[in-house]
């Protein structure tokens, strides 16, 4: 390997890593606030890319059926809960939240009716369509289990993953899709060619990282999410609803996952089940940060991207093996040097 190839691989690795950064940040966000290791998170990214691909092929994306079904289920559960608690006055709010809001992008898709729109509008619509999925899944599958141990939540997350990636097969079929390039720009520095696409990916993950940083540091909503992550009982005592915090975490994370899907769409062929591997690689990055540290998770995700890129040069059929095998030393190192966060959490819940 000469320097030129090394740099080329580095560029590739950093661009991949930047995708994983977005997904890893979302994974940490969801885990710290709700203790859910949200396995289907990569699927959300795949849904965003496949939805956009459907628009570009002038098809109606099956995503709308998923969102409508989930919204219907969530609304039914919410109505039942409210009536049982005798809080009928909250019904209009629930209706707005679980029926009207998720249906707005669906209505937009219907009105557009399979015509092509400008690229930016299609991207926005694909994101808007995908955004309610995770918060609705939270309402249906995780909120009723808010006090369950982390392991139970993980098993539910796995089941949800199989369900929604199975539905993706139904909606999008077994063939792979690639979306239209976002930019065809190329830059040459010396002998190296840098694609506009990879700059866009890296730029997006830096921007989202900064936005997240500002959100947590500067806004009351961001601080409320951190407070919930740090001390659930304390948060409830100052009036922060864990359910609302969880929903917000899932919503914000969906923006991250959706964006990563849109960014990866033009550079990789995505299938209905591509999300799982994407999510898993980001998870390796997030684990390096112990599932709690955002900056370390971001660095970890870049590390995974680089590792993957160099591994694929040496032996492309083994690149996944190398990435996932790297989890073993990371876990060993973490278990030797850090306190057991999960046990601590559990002990606190029991108290």
């Amino acid at each position: 390997m000469n320097l030129e190839i090394a740099l080329l691989l580095a560029q590739d690795g950093i661009a991949n890593g930047a995708i994983y950064v977005l997904v890893a940040l979302g994974t940490v966000l969801i885990f710290t606030v709700t203790r859910v290791i949200f396995v289907p998170f990569g699927d959300i990214a795949a849904y965003a890319a496949l939805t956009l691909a459907s628009f570009q092929l002038e098809r109606t994306p099956g995503t709308i059926w998923l969102v409508m079904t989930l919204a219907g289920l969530a609304l039914a559960m919410e109505v039942y809960t409210l009536l049982r608690r005798g809080e009928a006055h909250r019904l209009p709010m629930a209706l707005l939240h679980y029926a009207v809001l998720p249906l707005i992008p669906i209505a937009a898709v219907w009105i557009v009716g399979g015509q092509r729109l400008p690229m930016a509008a299609e991207i926005a619509l694909a994101l808007a369509l995908v955004m309610p999925i995770a918060p609705l899944l939270y309402r249906i599958a995780f909120r009723p289990l808010a006090d369950a141990p982390v392991l139970v939540l993980l098993i539910v997350a796995l089941a949800v993953h199989f369900a929604i990636s199975g539905l993706a097969l139904l909606f999008f079929g077994p063939e792979g899709f690639r979306t239209e390039p976002l930019t065809r720009a190329m830059f040459t520095i010396g002998t190296i060619v840098i694609t506009g696409q990879s700059l866009l990916i890296v730029g997006a993950s830096i921007v989202f990282g900064l936005l997240l940083f500002l959100f947590f540091g500067r806004t009351m909503a961001g601080k409320a999410l951190r407070a919930t992550a740090i001390n659930r009982t304390g948060a409830r005592l100052v009036g922060i609803r864990p359910a609302a915090a969880g929903e917000l975490a899932f919503l914000l994370a969906s923006v991250l996952a959706g964006t990563s899907g849109i960014l990866i769409g033009p550079v990789a062929t995505l299938y209905y089940d591509s999300g799982f591997i994407l999510g898993l690689k980001a998870f390796v990055g997030a684990i390096i940060g112990g599932l709690v540290s955002y900056p370390v998770a971001a660095l970890g995700a870049v590390f995974v991207g680089l590792l993957e890129s160099y591994a694929s040069f040496w032996n492309s059929s083994l690149k996944e093996v190398v990435v996932f095998a790297s989890l073993i030393p990371v876990l060993l190192w973490r278990s030797l040097t850090f306190a057991h966060l999960e046990d601590e959490d559990e002990a606190e819940d029991a108290a």
Binding site: M220, T233, G239
Partner: protein, 239 residues
């Protein structure tokens, strides 16, 4: 006249073990009522049931509203606030963020929150000096002040205090009780659980003695202070 807080025959159990058994107490608006009793009597359990952290059987009415169906957050929104025994601060957030989050339920009243922040910093000068320090790195006493300050940021109408003087130096204890008394004159009602029975009885209007989950004595605080049984058990024979 109906009471501000009326607890009527409540039972709280951990699994099969009933920690609070048929406790009734009432508190008039503007009063300080104290609950004293030995370790393990069920004082913390009683406060946690009142705020909604623990499920209970029986009736709890606050300002004319039956609390049973309300979640913690709804009780907080109605002016109830607990300073829990374990304080439950946000360790990895700064002092000032902890205080601001205390006002979460009224976060839209920006001007009011700003004023209250200034008032809390006036009351607890140490917190003002350490406003950017992480809560987890505060000393035990500073943490107590932060817990109390965070509760005040909510502008509670009824404050539930679980051993506010726990582990504090005598001088600070006196300061805490001075603050509790001054809160009453600004219109806050207080349900005070304390180990420091003498200071609690001196500050309170009315007192209950809780023993193994049941009310053993009750009466005007000034009268209980001279009750021979209370003096022997809780005031170490002095007073």
């Amino acid at each position: 006249m109906s009471a501000f807080l009326e607890i009527d025959d409540i039972h709280v159990a951990y699994g099969k073990m009933e920690a609070v058994r048929g406790v009734s107490l009432s508190l008039q608006a503007g009063q300080i009522v104290t609950v004293i009793g030995p370790n393990g009597a069920g004082k913390t359990t009683l406060l946690e049931a009142t705020i909604g952290l623990l499920p209970s059987r029986g009736r709890i009415v606050f300002d004319g509203i039956d609390l049973r169906r309300l979640e913690i957050e709804d009780r907080v929104a109605r002016g109830l606030c607990l300073v829990p025994e374990r304080r439950e601060l946000f360790g990895e957030l700064s002092v000032i963020d902890n205080l601001l989050l205390g006002a979460y339920a009224r976060r839209r009243d920006r001007e009011g929150v700003r004023q209250d922040l200034a008032t809390v910093f006036e009351r607890f000068a140490r917190l003002a000096e350490r406003r950017n320090q992480l809560a987890a790195t505060l000393s035990g006493g500073e943490r107590q002040m932060l817990a109390l300050g965070r509760a005040l940021m909510a502008r509670p109408r009824l404050l539930l205090l679980d051993e506010p003087s726990l582990g504090l130096a005598p001088l600070v204890v006196r300061e805490i009780f001075r603050i509790i008394a001054s809160l009453r004159s600004s219109g806050v009602s207080i349900l005070l659980v304390e180990q420091n029975a003498l200071a609690a009885l001196e500050t309170a209007d009315y007192a209950y003695v809780l023993e193994t989950g049941e009310i053993a004595h009750s009466g005007a605080a000034a009268a209980l202070m001279h009750d021979p049984k209370v003096v022997a058990t809780y005031l170490g024979g002095q007073a």
